[in-house]
Symmetry: C2
Subunit: 462 residues, 2 copies
């Protein structure tokens, strides 16, 4: 069943990661005279900007996470190996990856490190189990279980006459695009999608809070668009709480602290963390071997051509690099990995190196609600329906590029514009995030407020 | 946020389960002067006949498991409570359910028990972790992780030059409709969908075995259609092994025993159990309180009007009952629960009881491949394209009844007829079924055959 290893002495490129950087870098090498091995810890490419739609029941995981090998199936010079990279040896020129405790060592001639970033809790990693991040399919499905599970628990508690305000309060930490989109969609669920589904609770009374230590929402978009976003969020019923630093998170709520010293406790079972990112720990592994700098977010300092100091054969791209204050967006990963791929191709063909990497800002956009978005393209500032149409068009085009499945696109567009949320299904394991809860001492005691003896309805039988 | 409990003294019906029985029973009560409470351990209704399509990447979980409360949102006399029923007290007329360790007690005037059946390992429950069943969304996603994960592990092993036959062998135990459909779809994956995605393995060399102790596949369809199904399965590349009783299952394979005493060991990492069902343990709880009989599959003997002996207010329906050798199919659950609902409605309205329950056989069908199915309607026996068109039409109509989402239907039809398998995404947790493997002593040692030191490619660097 096996094909003998090739004896072709072609230049070997290893690409670490299957996100925007890993995938676009690999695709950019499709005509190069090289063998590419993509090593990634998931079997899929992830369209991260739509993760919040998986968490809120609009899309299925398959719709935003196509298999990396399917995307690359016709690229003959590329292969995909599943594995989490645990080490890079710059001297031996090998990448060590692990699956199920077993190691694979892959040698390279050129390396593109595109391992991205994880959620950062700014040193408070204990928050993670109570406030999952939004970085992976696992995160999104976990949050789907928590969000829909909170309404289920509230229905159970309210039917007993208990106070369920803490179950119907949702706090999103971080008012960047992901946080804004997430808060908007949870409000949409409570206000529209679920309003007829429950009997003991009124989902429209649910509170959705968007909390950030910064002074405005969507700081990257400037004050004017930030203010427009706040207005639109208020229309949706999202309460925006700015200048509020989260100082503690637990099972049942979180603590915020304001600049004037005021403290506030928010009772909320469901918390979502969208507040910061931390570069892959591979950046630190590379820094240690080269003496390259690491910034506070764990990003590594690279040369202007994206190579590692002293290692012209190693490129670092995307969210992992500390260079010219590049934004942590898909375009940075795509452009930098294409640059690296082109550099490798030129080297293999004996051509002169390219000029230093330059980021081309294609603009930024964030969607807030059905028909509402903000966009920034060069000096242009857009908001409302026009920005929304632009957002939808660009996302449709992008997804179409991978999938060419008209029906899936249609499904997405119709679900998103419509009020239906067809992808609300959670596993029995996920509902209420049982895994996370099982880890807590005392189980779920904190989530429900009264003893269990009282029957649901106190009416006499018969 | 709460609505005070109703003081309406209406007749209270509790329905246990949200499968075909629970859902159709509840819907049949929509015009009755009763309050219905559905207590179910999942938040969704499950269209079980298509579970295998979730496991093999055709459908997303949301497409076959819509939220029960959404389906019932406009039925004002129905409410849904999440909880696993742990006890029924026939004297006190209460149902006890549990969520996260906390109990809810719900009183009833009439009860419909539609808790269905779980996979049966015929007393060998230790097989379960190595050969998951096909009864829930959790099962299907677990199997999705194992099936696609096996190809990933094989690719890793083959790239090192290891023998990976055991990773590319898939054994489906049980040649009823579910087993036949599952084996056909895995063969379809190996033969078509995945054939261009790997580099070190040829997925078309994968073996798919369908094993059953019976003498034919699809016994309920008779010898002629059974033989046709075997032919069609052979065309797909499925090896059918009949008269083969599974006597042991472990991490790396299984043992079968033939009538002539011959034993055979099959080396296969991925095993799927579709061989038998066991009624919900609630049947035993009811039998204990009434002295009703229990058959070998744990089904309870009921009166001809589906009530429990001595308890005219308690109906048992669907897969849980031992009556007239009813087949364990959706139609049994639907028809028996509608009968029970009608009986309750008549009782509340003071009308005379119905005549005993009679099952109306609408026919059976099983799909084997794209464009191939077998069907049995009365005396009519169909196979091939005609049976397939019938199957597709009936399933489309059924799903449309719940969803009225044209795009989702279209998506399904196109995926299923086409070769694309868009829903292949697994969580990091699911890939290779890490949970199951973590439980094993010695971890995954049995899955991979050689030490880890050898690099992927042994070619000299640069």
């Amino acid at each position: 069943m096996t094909t003998p290893p090739s004896t072709d002495p072609r230049h070997r490129v290893v690409v670490i990661g299957s996100g925007f950087g890993g995938l676009f870098g690999t695709k950019a090498l499709r005509r190069a005279d090289v063998d590419v091995t993509v090593v990634a810890k998931t079997t899929h490419h992830l369209f991260q900007p739509l993760l919040y739609q998986v968490a809120t029941g609009i899309l299925s995981e398959g719709e935003i996470a196509p298999p990396t090998r399917e995307i690359l199936s016709r690229q003959k010079n590329a292969r995909v190996l599943l594995g989490e990279v645990t080490d890079i040896d710059l001297t031996a020129r090998t990448v060590t990856s692990q699956v199920l405790g077993r190691e694979t060592v892959t040698p390279y001639d050129s390396l593109i490190v595109a391992a991205g970033a994880a959620q950062s809790y700014f040193g408070n990693d204990r928050f993670a189990e109570f406030a999952p991040g939004m970085k992976s399919i696992d995160d999104a499905l976990e949050l789907r279980g928590r969000i829909f599970g909170a309404f289920e628990l509230a229905e159970l508690g309210a039917a007993r006459g208990e106070d369920v305000d803490h179950l119907l309060t949702f706090v999103v930490v971080g008012a960047g695009p992901t946080g804004v989109e997430m808060a908007g969609q949870i409000a949409e669920l409570a206000q529209r999608t679920l309003k007829r589904d429950f009997r003991a609770i009124n989902t429209r009374h649910a509170r959705v809070l968007l909390v950030d230590a910064a002074a405005q929402v969507l700081p990257a978009f400037g004050a004017k668009l930030g203010a427009k976003a706040v207005d639109r969020l208020a229309d949706l019923g999202v309460e925006v709480m700015l200048g509020a630093m989260v100082t503690e998170v637990d099972e049942r709520g979180l603590q915020v602290s304001f600049a004037d010293g005021r403290q506030e406790r928010l009772e909320a079972v469901t918390k979502i963390w969208a507040a910061g990112v931390q570069a892959s720990p591979l950046a630190a592994i590379l820094a240690e071997q080269t003496g390259a700098s690491l910034d506070r977010a764990g990003r590594i300092g690279v040369n202007p051509d994206l190579t590692l100091p002293g290692h012209p054969e190693v490129y670092v791209v995307g969210d992992m690099i500390d260079l010219d204050q590049l934004p942590g967006v898909a375009q940075t990963a795509i452009q930098s990995s294409r640059y690296a791929a082109k550099a490798i191709d030129r080297r293999v063909r004996g051509k002169a190196p390219q000029p230093p990497f330059r980021y081309f800002d294609k603009g930024s956009m964030a969607i807030i609600s059905r028909f509402g978005a903000v966009a920034m393209i060069g000096r242009l500032r857009l908001s409302g329906l026009l920005a929304w149409v632009l957002w939808l068009t660009i996302h449709l085009l992008y997804i179409a590029g991978f999938k060419s499945r008209v029906t899936a696109l249609l499904h997405w567009a119709v679900s998103f514009i419509g009020r239906g949320r067809a992808e609300r299904t959670t596993t029995e394991q996920q509902v209420f995030a049982r895994r996370a809860l099982a880890r807590l001492d005392g189980g779920v005691a904190g989530l429900v407020s009264e003893p269990a003896e009282r029957p649901l309805q106190d009416r006499a039988t018969g």
